[in-house]
Amino acid sequence: MSNIPTDLRYTRDHEWAKREGGNVRVGITHYAQEQLGDVVFVELPKVGAKAAQRQSFGVVESVKAVSDLYAPVSGEVVEVNAQLGKTPELVNQDPYGRGWMIVIKPSNPAEWDQLLTAKQYEEHLAQGPH
């Protein structure tokens, strides 16, 4: 069974979101990294870029495939994980920790409540292949 921390919120596209003070840290789930396989490249926005909920903010490339990354909430990108430039495999090794991708300063706090809870995300995964 996939590792789904209960203190995070999730998108249907397999990103996680974590509240930190007023900001939201974003990455992809354990399930997503497992499906992708070896991550070899992550393309992320620059600090200061605008993210829009459900819109692509970057891409993650594994050996076999390229996948878009979707923002869980709208806002300004205030931090980017520069370590992924040199060691993209952190996404596989530690998807909820050192494999984080960006931090967003939300512009619409109401969007948080539209994200899936851990239980809802688990149900979403149980519905079959995505």
Partner: protein, 371 residues
């Protein structure tokens, strides 16, 4: 109509081992067991087992078998001795490639060819129709009865040697011998698709499971592990081995693909000869080159290759190369920009990413040339 996917005799053992199964050329095959990168490195460092039973095997025998093959394939079958293997091509009259293959001379009038899984039906129709009038060449499609296990890596010789009833170290590169491996009859071929030393073991479908398990058990201490098609692709890409459907197909000819070495114009008539000779004498318009990317973004099949912002080619295969730790690719580019060292770009999601034409193979091969 959606045809059901075919399964090799080893399907059950892959699923049990936790492999991720994917459709590939009409077959349900393991793409990876744990991680493509890990599996790739295991083959370079130790030894890996590949189920390639989905590949097709045709036998042809009789007094006209040699003549039929000389007409059908581009390499010189006359130069092939019994016990020897030859890489070759089937071409259309316009020089486009029907398939690439390995050809085995089993005896004076008996041969076997191994073809790509996705092309079995097409190739079978092609070879039998094109030699229908030769009654002295009898064809047999033995694909369904034949399983194929590749054992590749620096520890392959020791592993196969432990299970074989003959001295496999004495089998030279691109040579083969009959023998028993783990108690079952096998054709032991010193060939592969990884750039490492190793063998391809042709066995009856009923023997496949036992052989696979015996290889895994005997090789456990040496790090033997099953390897999926994902790592097979990155291993062959580092060697610049062509992949049918990506780097070569009916629209590409052997000269532009860099496969002129398997076209023997001096042998006489064969299908595609005139067209290939023309391309050779005029010089190809484009060439298949190796590209190394400046960053790790992956140049994938179909992405445009750029020179000063203009599209001058197209990527045919691309991946992260675990042994070279770089993003690498093969691409057809206009001959004017094909020289090693040329600075190019690849359009990746609308951005021109710097690339350079480099010498191939990307990683030095370690096949065992002399017995």
């Amino acid at each position: 109509m959606d045809m059901p996917l075919k399964r090799t005799p080893l399907y059950g053992i892959h699923v049990k081992a936790g492999a991720r199964m994917v459709p590939f050329g009409g077959w349900e095959m393991p793409v990876q067991y744990t991680s493509i990168v890990e599996e790739h490195r295991a083959v370079r460092a130790a030894v890996g087992l590949f189920d390639v039973s989905h590949m097709g095997e045709f036998e042809v025998e009789g007094p006209e078998a040699l003549a039929a093959l000389q007409h059908l394939t581009t390499n010189d079958v006359g130069a092939l001795e019994a016990g020897q293997v030859q890489y070759s091509l089937l071409c259309y009259p316009d020089g486009g490639i029907v398939d690439d293959l390995t050809l085995y001379r089993l005896g004076p009038e008996r041969f076997m060819m191994t073809v790509n899984a996705a092309n079995i039906d097409k190739d079978w129709a092609w070879v039998t129709e094109r030699s229908a009038t030769r009654r002295g060449a009898r064809w047999r499609n033995v694909s369904a009865q034949t399983a194929l296990i590749a054992v590749q890596g620096p520890r392959a010789e020791a592993l196969v040697g432990r299970l074989a009833d003959r001295d496999v170290a004495a089998i030279g590169y691109y040579r083969f011998a009959a023998g028993a491996v783990a108690g079952g009859q096998a054709l032991i071929s010193r060939t592969g698709y990884t750039g490492e030393d190793g063998f391809e073991l042709y066995v009856g479908a009923a023997d496949a499971m036992r052989l696979w398990q015996a290889l895994l058990d005997a090789g456990a201490g040496a790090g033997a592990r099953p390897i999926g098609l994902g790592a097979r692709d990155t291993l062959r890409l580092e060697m610049r081995y062509a992949l049918y459907g990506n780097d070569i197909d009916q629209t590409t000819n052997p000269i532009e693909a860099g496969l002129g070495w398997v076209v023997k114009l001096a042998k006489g008539e064969f299908i595609g000869r005139e067209a290939i000779e023309r391309v050779k004498s005029e010089g190809p318009r484009r060439r298949l080159v190796g590209l190394e990317m400046a960053d790790r973004a992956v140049a994938r099949h179909g992405y445009p290759v750029l020179k000063d912002g203009q599209a001058i080619g197209i990527v045919t295969s691309g991946s992260y190369g675990p042994s070279v730790d770089k993003s690498i690719a093969l691409a057809y580019v206009d001959t004017a920009h094909a020289a090693v060292g040329t600075e190019l770009g690849v359009d990746i999601r609308g951005q021109a990413r710097p690339a350079r034409a480099v010498k191939t193979p990307f990683h030095p091969p370690r096949v065992k040339k002399a017995p």
